[in-house]
């Protein structure tokens, strides 16, 4: 097993006819993901390298049995596109788009909750279950199938850690990029729950960063609900307060959201926190092998 995406994933990509959407959508297909359809309003009936295009996500669900939607549309049109996906009948929506206004996401978050749809992102690299399916922009070549589940706010940092795990001979059940925005559909806790229930996952690597309190909440949750070992990494110890460090959510507000506070919260609950990506991978391998 894996989590969020696997061989049962039937993907519909909003924005498949666009440059980014077609590049990554077709890359996902080449990896082995079942790419059922694309959606671009007004282009229904066309195809992109044999993949049928529909006018709406609902038509793709009805026509091709799509169960997972990937959103690749530009920021200012993305929230309505996610809303459309939530109402279309798919089980999972993975939103890659960066730059969506946060108060729009606030509305969208609750729509997804109410509809019982799993929303991943936005501003995330997607989800990869090595050997099964890749939905998003994660470069699959750095990850082998294996026992370590990864959940991360950051893309490249995850690739860095994944590559070090691979070099150490370990692989991943899944890699979930939850995104770097202040409001995201699935938090660490949502994904930790899935890994806890996934028999293939034996250890979880959690990659956090400054801003908000998702890591602190996750620390409490891990202590209460997670039986599998968790190893963490936190980025942003040198970030000054009040400055947004790339990700919209990566900002220390006053004295809250610091890397130090997150590290301490995790360590207080028995989670080992690596000093660097390299050390984090090393600890994960060490703990996994007992």
């Amino acid at each position: 097993m894996s989590i969020v995406v696997d061989e049962k994933t039937k993907l519909v990509v909003s924005g498949l006819t666009g440059r980014e959407g077609s590049f990554h959508g077709l890359r996902n297909k080449a990896y082995g993901t079942y790419l059922a359809a694309g959606v671009t309003p007004g282009k229904g009936g066309q195809d992109v390298e044999g993949v049928p295009i529909f006018d709406s996500i609902r038509e793709a669900v009805e026509g091709e049995g799509a169960n997972t939607s990937m959103i690749f549309v530009p920021a200012r049109f993305a929230a309505p596109a996610i809303d459309e996906a939530i109402e279309s009948g798919v089980e999972t929506v993975i939103a890659i788009t960066e730059g969506i206004p946060v108060l729009d996401m606030l509305q969208t978050y609750w729509k997804a909750k109410e509809a019982g749809v799993r929303l991943i992102g936005p501003n995330c690299p997607g989800v990869l279950s090595p050997g099964k399916a890749n939905v998003g922009i994660i470069p699959a070549q750095f990850f082998d199938p294996g026992k370590i589940g990864v959940v991360s706010k950051s893309g490249t940092l995850t690739y860095q850690i994944g590559n070090e795990l691979k070099q150490a001979g370990e692989g991943n059940s899944s890699i979930v990029g939850i995104g770097g925005d202040p409001i995201i559909g699935s938090d660490f806790i949502d994904i930790l729950k899935l890994y806890e229930a996934d028999p293939e996952t034996e250890l979880i690597v959690m990659v956090g960063e400054i801003g908000g309190d998702a890591e602190e909440r996750a620390a409490d949750f891990i202590a209460a609900e997670i039986s599998k070992p968790v190893v963490a990494y936190i980025a942003g110890f040198t970030a000054p307060p009040g400055k947004q460090m790339g990700h919209a959510g990566a900002i220390i507000s006053g004295s809250s959201g610091t890397a130090q506070a997150k590290k301490e919260a995790l360590e207080a609950k028995g989670v080992r926190v690596g000093e660097s990506p390299t050390e984090t991978a090393k600890i994960a391998v060490e703990v996994l092998r007992g």
């Binding site: 920021a75 108060l103 998702a214 460090m245 006053g254």
Partner: protein, 388 residues
């Protein structure tokens, strides 16, 4: 983006929240002229993006023309350091507003609660002081209530909150109205934080926002033209301004090790690892996914224009970004700009071998290749020296 006090107040006024009327001035003469129009007593307030202005001497009351002139002269051009050591920020404009007859000082705010995914309204009868200290000493004095995202937040919905906070009985209606309008301001203007401290009751029993702290979501600026203009003019750091123009994600820090990485998380991590190696990062610069040669030229131009920078680290883990593109960018940049400082390059991931070959072939002087993030951090710290 954060708004200056007077910009926040203008936003409040546009949404029906009462604020004292006033004028902004950038010179002593203009400040005095404004004070004369407004009348005395009036407040002369430094407009900088940090708290603790009063304590730092940035807010003064003028009783007459002579005092207005003296205060404006003292405040304009002064450097203010924030309570957490932020800055110093030079005061280049003041806000002059009519004095208010204060009967009581309260606190009101509407902020985005990331954890709960809702807007959170907070009200306290203990305004005019550090609210974090109030909350720490007497948690019950700060009333917090989440705003239901599926319903309009009316004055009727706000009323129980101000009641619980124990505001004066005869000010409750107006305070509830003010809180509802602050929430409306947040939603209409894409603000993730609106704080009024103090929210006062005047002797005439009017509820007025005497200060403002407003943060606008940068992702939403495209639909707020006026705010976007304020954002553009607010940047006074030359590197940050240059980076903005070139569309780069750059944050100025105060060290001497220039840093470029791809991806926000990896870049933050690179700063941390450089600091662990004993260095002081000069900046955060995320070259983004799929960085092309031209973006690298721009990035190096910005980083090297900071005179404090004495060595630069490139930390690239290529996923979508291809290392050969990065290498081409470095070679191109070296031919167009004189960096004048050593460059440490770590290329890993997609097409790293091709990238390394391109760099080796170019034989650039003072370019040092490292294979790991830690090794690269140690090397750049060694080359940067103490920076003095």
């Amino acid at each position: 983006m954060d708004l200056l006090e007077y910009q926040g107040k203008q936003l409040f006024a546009a949404h029906g929240v009462a604020v004292p009327s006033g004028e902004v001035a950038e010179s002593v003469a203009d400040a005095v002229a404004a004070a004369e129009r407004i009348g005395y007593p009036c407040a002369i307030k430094a407009q900088v993006l940090i708290g603790g202005r009063g304590k730092a001497g940035g807010i003064k009351i003028a009783a007459d023309r002579a005092e207005a002139e003296a205060h404006a002269g003292a405040i304009l051009g002064m450097d203010i350091v924030g309570p957490h050591g932020e800055g110093p920020f030079r005061v280049d404009r003041v806000w002059i507003e009519g004095g208010s007859a204060i009967a009581a000082e309260y606190y009101a705010s509407v902020i985005l609660d990331r954890g709960e995914k809702k807007l959170l309204a907070m009200v306290s009868a203990k305004g005019g002081m550090d609210i974090e200290a109030v909350a720490a000493e007497d948690p019950g004095a700060l009333v917090k209530e989440h705003i239901d995202p599926t319903r309009p937040f009316t004055a009727a919905a706000a009323r129980p909150i101000v009641e619980r906070a124990g505001l004066a009985e005869d000010a409750l209606d107006e305070a509830a109205e003010a809180l509802a309008k602050l929430a409306e301001t947040a939603m209409a203007e894409d603000a993730t934080l609106i704080e009024v401290n103090p929210l006062i009751v005047t002797e005439d029993r009017d509820v007025v926002a005497l200060d403002s702290k407003v943060t606008i979501d940068g992702n939403a600026l495209y639909r707020h033209e006026g705010l976007a203009e304020l954002d553009a003019e607010a940047i006074d750091d030359p590197q940050e301004a240059m980076a903005r123009e070139k569309g780069l994600t750059y944050v100025k820090l105060d060290g001497n090790v220039g840093i470029l990485a791809n991806g926000a998380g990896l870049c933050m991590s690179t700063l941390d690892v450089v600091a662990q190696a004993g260095g002081a990062p000069a900046n955060f610069l995320d070259a983004g996914g799929g960085s092309k040669a031209e973006a690298i030229v721009d990035a190096l131009t910005v980083i090297s224009s900071d005179e404090k920078v004495s060595a630069i680290l490139f930390n690239i883990f290529g996923g979508i970004t291809r290392c050969d593109e990065i290498a081409k960018g470095i070679v191109e940049a070296s031919s167009r700009i004189d960096l004048g400082v050593p460059l440490v390059v770590r290329l890993d991931g997609t097409n790293s071998e091709q990238g390394l070959a391109i760099l080796a072939e170019a034989g650039l002087p003072d370019l040092h290749q490292e294979t790991t993030m830690l090794g690269a951090a140690r090397k750049v710290v060694e080359l940067a020296g103490s920076g003095s």
